[in-house]
């Protein structure tokens, strides 16, 4: 029986159907591969579809089911991985020419955990080079496109993962979020996207962009699926020193609790100028829907958010400039031939990195240089502290915050590539959570201009995932009620 015929649509449903033998992991996989065959040439969600490996994994899952052993919590669930997570023996490129040909000798911790849970990794998805961008147009291998309207971007930098879930290429996907790179593409592609608390998911094997901000999280069709994935990939990992020393929390248990008495703060700074009216309208409607369910809605002000973007675009490039240093042509990846070591470094990096990566390396190198450190990097760290204290003040009055995920719905390919500043403004709503290390979720809530998806962002303090997911589930139910079904 096919997955569709079995009625299994979401990851949770598929895992249950596969584990009970109602449907085979192989059949589930073939349906996804068929969809990839049909439309991937246009969407370009993947850098690399792992057909053979995925079939072997699906077969192993089916054998486990047949032999009566536990196939795992994600039995037969197809997962697409952003191509900045290491997969042993499989190309991992970060959508950069500089890593072409490199095959990691090890798996990222999240990959190991997915495999142990019986998930079927179906491929590596496209991204802005080294996760630097907001539209997936900075990929060395060409842009991905939005499944809702292929003339639009899917967002970024995890655009390939968002598109893969939206297009039905995989039940779920993993992305990484440094300044909004999961939530913004989730919003633009009409799926759920989660940036967990910093340290909630191991970064071991995630190729770093800005280490103090990077965090892996799920894309899914439903809040429940996102919770399930986070339960599998989250929890302490001794290989990551910044990993929180706690097991992954139970997130699905509270999804039905509702929002009666929950205090929700609408962020004033993210509801006014710079936010498209269609987007602001949907966020207001979502707040009203929660209010009907018993939530208390109030407007709160977090003035330092205004400086978040500036601080982020100093801290992230600073760390990036150091993290990108190892791509020097000496040990792996691209090496341009040149007469001496310095010339080889220069030629390799000139050829291997795209313009946005070079721009950020230069910005970051400058910000960390002697004589400029205090004025730039040092000041940015102070803003980071200010944002933390603004959050702290806000959470004294409310339980969670609410805002748009992205200032606009999906925009045309090429619309913002000419001016990096315009592109950077996409991240204004998402950056504060990264600077604070806090969790945030983007949940689809109807359509905006052109019928394109709008995402509502929910923000909470560190380790507040159980409550955030509870509220997100309520937003999801409201969306289903208001829009009579999901936008896709």
């Amino acid at each position: 029986m096919s997955a569709a015929a079995s009625g299994a649509r979401t990851a949770s449903e598929v895992a249950a159907a596969v584990a009970t033998g109602q449907v085979s992991a192989a059949a589930v996989l073939e349906e996804h591969l068929a969809r990839i065959d049909a439309t991937e040439a246009e969407i370009h969600a993947f850098n690399h579809v792992m057909v053979d490996e995925a079939r072997a994994t699906a077969q192993a899952v089916d054998e486990a089911v047949a032999s009566g052993s536990d196939p795992g919590r994600l039995a037969g669930v197809t997962v697409a991985l952003k191509d900045n997570m290491c997969t042993r023996g499989t190309p991992t490129t970060c959508s950069s020419r500089i890593l072409v040909g490199w095959r990691p000798p090890y798996d990222a911790t999240v990959v190991t955990r997915l495999a142990a849970a019986g998930a079927v990794v179906i491929g590596k998805t496209n991204l802005d080079e080294f996760a630097m961008g907001s539209s997936t147009e900075n990929s060395a291998f060409g842009p991905s496109r939005n499944p809702h309207d292929p003339s639009k971007v899917p967002g970024g930098s995890s655009g390939g993962s968002a598109a893969a879930v939206a297009a039905g290429y995989a039940a779920v996907a993993l992305g990484s979020d440094t300044g909004g790179s999961i939530r913004q593409p989730a919003a633009l592609c009409g799926v759920v996207g989660v940036k967990p608390t910093y340290g909630g998911v191991s970064r071991y094997g995630l190729i770093a962009f800005a280490s103090s901000l990077d965090q892996i999280g799920p894309f899914a069709l439903t809040v429940e699926d996102a919770a399930l994935i986070l339960e599998v990939i989250g929890g302490h990992d001794p290989a990551d020193s910044t990993s929180i020393d706690q097991p992954a929390p139970d997130l699905r248990g509270g999804l039905g609790r509702g929002v009666d008495g929950v205090r929700v703060g609408l962020v004033r700074e993210l509801m006014g100028p710079g936010i498209a009216p269609d987007v602001a309208q949907r966020v207001t409607e979502a707040a009203e829907a929660l209010e009907k369910e018993g939530a208390r809605i109030e407007e709160v002000s977090l003035p330092s958010f205004t400086y978040g973007l500036s601080a982020y675009y100093l801290i992230a490039p600073a760390e990036c400039s150091s993290n990108m240093a190892r791509y020097d042509g000496v040990r792996y990846g691209l090496r341009a031939e040149a007469p001496g070591i310095t010339e080889m470094y220069k030629a390799t990096r000139a050829e291997g990195f795209g313009p946005e990566v070079k721009r950020r390396i230069m910005l970051g190198t400058y910000a960390l240089s002697a004589g400029y450190y205090d004025a730039y990097y040092g000041k940015a760290l102070k803003v980071r502290t200010l944002i933390l204290s603004d959050f702290e003040r806000a959470y004294a009055d409310v339980d969670v915050l609410m805002s748009p995920t992205s200032p606009t719905v999906a925009f045309d390919l090429g619309a913002k590539t000419a001016d990096p500043m315009t592109m950077y403004l996409n991240d204004v709503c998402t950056i504060p959570s990264n600077l604070a290390g806090h969790p945030a979720i983007s949940v689809p809530f109807g359509g905006g201009e052109g019928g394109l998806p709008v995402g509502v962002q929910l923000l909470g303090p560190a380790l507040s995932e159980p409550l955030l997911f509870q509220v997100a589930a309520a937003v999801e139910r409201a969306a289903t009620a208001v829009f009579e079904g999901r936008p896709l």
Partner: protein, 475 residues
């Protein structure tokens, strides 16, 4: 070597010690010298994309031991990235400690009574090793380079002294003492020849009485105590010559060329000095508990200075005596003290232990004490005692010294036999004897030698000299 009249050396040393941990600083690869190239490597120490460091607890413990032994404050510390490109540095940044090092404000008291301040002793990772092939062997004109990453990520403690050193000999004493300390605490094997202890010297000179520091040069590639002394002397002389000529010293790195006996200019510092340090985001602050710090301090073994004092007091000599310093430096002090406890004469035991037991040999303390006692009692001459110790060492350390001495035909000559042997030699050389009686002391040695020869080395040289003097006084 003394500097020209009116000039003073100002020197500070940066000593890198590889810690004797089982594994590397941030991964579980073996910390091992001499393995096949690139066999002790993993994604972390190769800096592969996506890998992350995890701090080695044993390295922290050993670093704290060094700090405790140098009487440092042991503090909460953080790690920074020091950014620069070099092929043997896998990440193109080094994880080090910057403005918040683990150990600060200590000092090292030297055997001569002087004190050198220790500004900091911080933790950092080692680089790999490059071998440049072709040209001069330097990276600048090599045809190609080979890199071994076995050493990449090996834990180091960098111990930075204050600018308190005033002579090359003091620099040598400082490094030797530091070496004893890191060995005594088990923190490092301190082997300069294997590069597990590496020294850079910041050298400047000034006119005596000038309160300002001169411009310094950092001298690198000092692979032995001998190189250290020669390089500092050379560099100080070079700087004085430049200044006397009306020139100025340029802040730069200079490499010691052992063969040529001179330093050569390396890169100018102002070009390379911006390491763009920033806090290492992949590690959390290192905040050892007060209990941990206290336990490290409490568990410190007796340090060389205290051991020298114990040894010197026990055997009644000055603690600055070279043999005392050597005994402690070579870890022989416990052996000497045990021999003394077993009844041996302290001074003889010290001398024999330091000078006459082969460096790679061993003698059981009981046999050693017995040999020393036989010598002190006149039953063996010094020469014979040395020979017996040699035999003991060759036999693996155990044995009966009396039996060995008998087997070698050693028996101290009685006073009568000895006097007879002396008289025979005098009688055989009347002309030389007249010379000696006439006041030419130079021939005394010849007489002693002849007596040694005729007694097959069984005579005690001191006793022969005494008898010769008695005969001369008697006319």
């Amino acid at each position: 070597m003394a500097l020209p009249e009116g000039w003073e050396l100002v020197c500070g040393l940066e000593v890198h010690c590889e810690l004797r941990t089982a594994t590397k600083l941030f991964c579980s690869c073996a910390n091992e010298f001499g393995s096949e190239p690139n066999t002790n490597v993993c994604p972390v120490c190769l800096g592969l994309p996506g890998s992350l460091p995890v701090l080695n607890e044993q390295a922290v413990e050993l670093a704290m031991r060094i700090g405790a032994a140098l009487d440092c404050d042991i503090l909460r510390s953080t790690f920074h990235r020091k950014n620069y490109f070099y092929p043997d540095m896998p990440k193109d940044y080094q994880i080090s400690q910057y403005d918040e090092p683990i150990n600060v404000l200590g000092h090292l008291d030297l055997p001569d009574g002087s004190t050198v301040g220790v500004e900091r002793a911080h933790i950092e990772e080692d680089t790999g090793k490059s071998q440049h092939v072709g040209g001069s062997g330097r990276i600048s004109d090599a045809t190609h380079s080979l890199v071994d990453y076995n050493r990449a990520g090996v834990p180091l403690v960098e111990i930075v002294s204050g600018p308190d050193i005033r002579s090359a000999d003091q620099a040598r004493a400082y490094v030797a003492e530091l070496r004893s300390i890191v060995v005594a605490t088990g923190a490092s094997d301190g082997k300069m020849e294997e590069g597990s202890m590496r020294v850079d010297a910041n050298v400047s000179v000034r006119r005596v009485g000038d309160p300002h520091l001169g411009t310094r040069c950092e001298v690198k590639n000092l692979n032995s105590l001998r190189s250290l002394v020669r390089a500092i002397d050379h560099e100080a002389s070079r700087q004085i010559a430049v200044l006397k000529d009306g020139g100025a010293i340029v802040l730069e790195t200079r490499h010691w060329d052992e063969g040529a006996g001179r330093t050569r200019a390396g890169r100018r510092k102002e070009e390379a000095d911006d390491y763009r340090y920033f806090p290492e985001p992949d590690l959390v602050p290192l905040d050892p508990s007060p209990e941990w710090i206290a336990s490290v301090r409490a568990a410190l073994p007796p340090l060389p200075a205290a051991r020298r004092q114990t040894l010197a007091e026990t055997i009644g000599v000055d603690e600055t005596l070279e043999a005392v310093i050597t005994a402690v430096g070579r870890d022989l002090d416990r052996f000497v003290l045990d021999a003394v406890a077993a009844g041996a004469d302290g001074k003889v035991a010290l001398s024999r232990a330091v000078n006459d037991i082969p460096v790679d040999g061993q003698v059981a303390v009981g046999a050693f004490a017995a040999t020393v006692s036989m010598e002190a009692a006149g039953a063996l001459t010094a020469t014979q005692a040395k020979k017996v110790l040699e035999e003991l060492a060759a036999a693996g350390g155990e044995g009966d010294p009396a039996a060995i001495a008998a087997g070698l035909g050693f028996q101290a000559l009685g006073e009568d036999s000895l006097a007879r042997a002396v008289d025979e030699v005098i009688a055989a050389r009347p002309k030389d004897w007249a010379d000696y009686v006439g006041g030419n002391d130079k021939v005394a040695g010849m007489f002693v030698g002849q007596v040694m020869k005729s007694t097959k080395g069984q005579a005690d040289g001191k006793a022969v000299t005494r008898i010769l003097n008695e005969r001369r006084a008697a006319g």
